[in-house]
Amino acid sequence: MAQVKKKQGKVPGIFINRRWCKRCGICVELCPKKVFTTDTLGNPVVKRPESCVWCELCELRCPDLALKLEGE
């Protein structure tokens, strides 16, 4: 597993496709920095984007390809 390393103080844009997301909870539970929370319906919500270390694990582990990180 690659080292979790912060890219020089930058944070990505975290985009979730609501039409594809099935609310499995993988991004919410397995993000090492607890960036996500859920709304009352169980939808993932980006709560603490500034804590993100850009490890990409949420994007790679999203079974529905519904999550995308973006940025330079």
């Binding site: 985009f15 099935k22 499995c24 999203c62 079974p63 390809l65």
Partner: protein, 298 residues
């Protein structure tokens, strides 16, 4: 030669609203998304790992044929914007062998489940490995028949619950990687949905390998395997993979006692052997040469 046209993606994808640039969209029949897999099903993670590995290689989608059998996992071909064959249960490798022999220049990839590849299709698997035909096979191993609602498969762990093992399975499971290696496969690796980054690397290597390459990708079926085996959701199942998988290199430094309930991941085996379509081309050329010289013994 008729040209096959790829299905045109249709409909809105949902990405328009997010403002984000979608990843991997160029490889998907977006009109078919969202896919039918249950929430948290590992098959989607493995599909993503495969697409990212393929993307890294920069191969041409139109020179690549993806073949699947029948099962939840085998539904994967419906989502991939490649030339695809969704075949009959267990026969993905038989169809793939035909495709590869007809046109060895194509990249031929088989994506199918453990039930498909190891039960009904078990013979095709060992014989494809024995021939060392240049096909990459990724087994989506969720330890169960998901599509038909949870019968046990030849890789279900001893003691595990399935609809057909209501008191726990008494069968000893196959080690699919050992099976393929013993049968003659020349690249064998295992990864998990949890360790998706290394799984992607293993798939990339398998795709590049000349000969029969096999990646056992541990998936999770929260609906039928997890729910009935005290792993209550996809997250629990992924954490199970985290706790039970040991990298094959790290394992060499570990006490065998500590490895007893562990699963080795990483590149397990690699070798070289004559590749089947090349051997076929060679023998065909030999026979033609003899025929030209007029000494072909009938």
């Amino acid at each position: 030669m008729p040209t096959l046209t790829r299905q045109v993606s249709r409909g809105e994808t949902g990405w328009e609203e997010t403002g984000g640039k979608p990843g991997l969209l160029g490889y998907l029949r977006t009109g078919m998304m969202p896919h039918l897999w249950c929430p948290g099903c590992g098959h989607g993670i493995i599909m993503g790992a495969f697409l990212r590995a393929f993307d890294r290689l920069g191969w041409d989608q139109d020179e690549t044929i993806i073949v699947s059998g029948i099962g939840c996992s085998s539904r994967v071909t419906g989502y991939l914007d490649f030339d695809t064959l969704h075949t009959t249960h267990g026969r993905a490798l038989a169809f793939a062998t035909g495709v590869k022999l007809a046109n060895p220049k194509l990249n031929v990839i088989v994506l199918a489940g453990d039930g498909d590849l190891a039960a009904i299709g078990g013979n095709h698997l060992i014989h494809a490995a024995r021939r060392n035909i240049n096909i990459t096979t990724i087994c989506f191993n969720n330890n169960i028949y998901g599509m038909t609602s949870g019968q046990f498969s030849p890789v279900s762990p001893t003691g595990s619950w399935a609809t057909t093992t209501p008191y726990g399975s008494i069968d000893r499971p196959f080690d699919l990687c050992e099976l393929v290696r013993a049968a003659g496969g020349t690249y064998v690796a295992r990864g998990t949905a949890y360790h998706v980054r290394s799984l992607t690397g293993l798939i990339e290597k398998a795709l590049k390998h000349k000969g029969f390459s096999f990646v056992e990708a541990l998936s999770q079926c929260p609906t039928y395997f997890g729910r009935r085996n005290q792993l209550h959701n996809a997250v629990d199942m992924l954490l199970w993979q985290k706790e039970h998988a040991v990298n094959v290199r790290a394992a060499t430094r570990m006490d065998p006692e500590d490895l007893r309930d562990k699963i080795l991941i990483g590149e397990l085996y690699r070798s070289e052997a004559p590749e089947y379509t090349e051997e076929y081309a060679r023998i065909r050329e030999q026979v033609r040469q003899k025929a030209r010289e007029g000494d072909l013994v009938q």
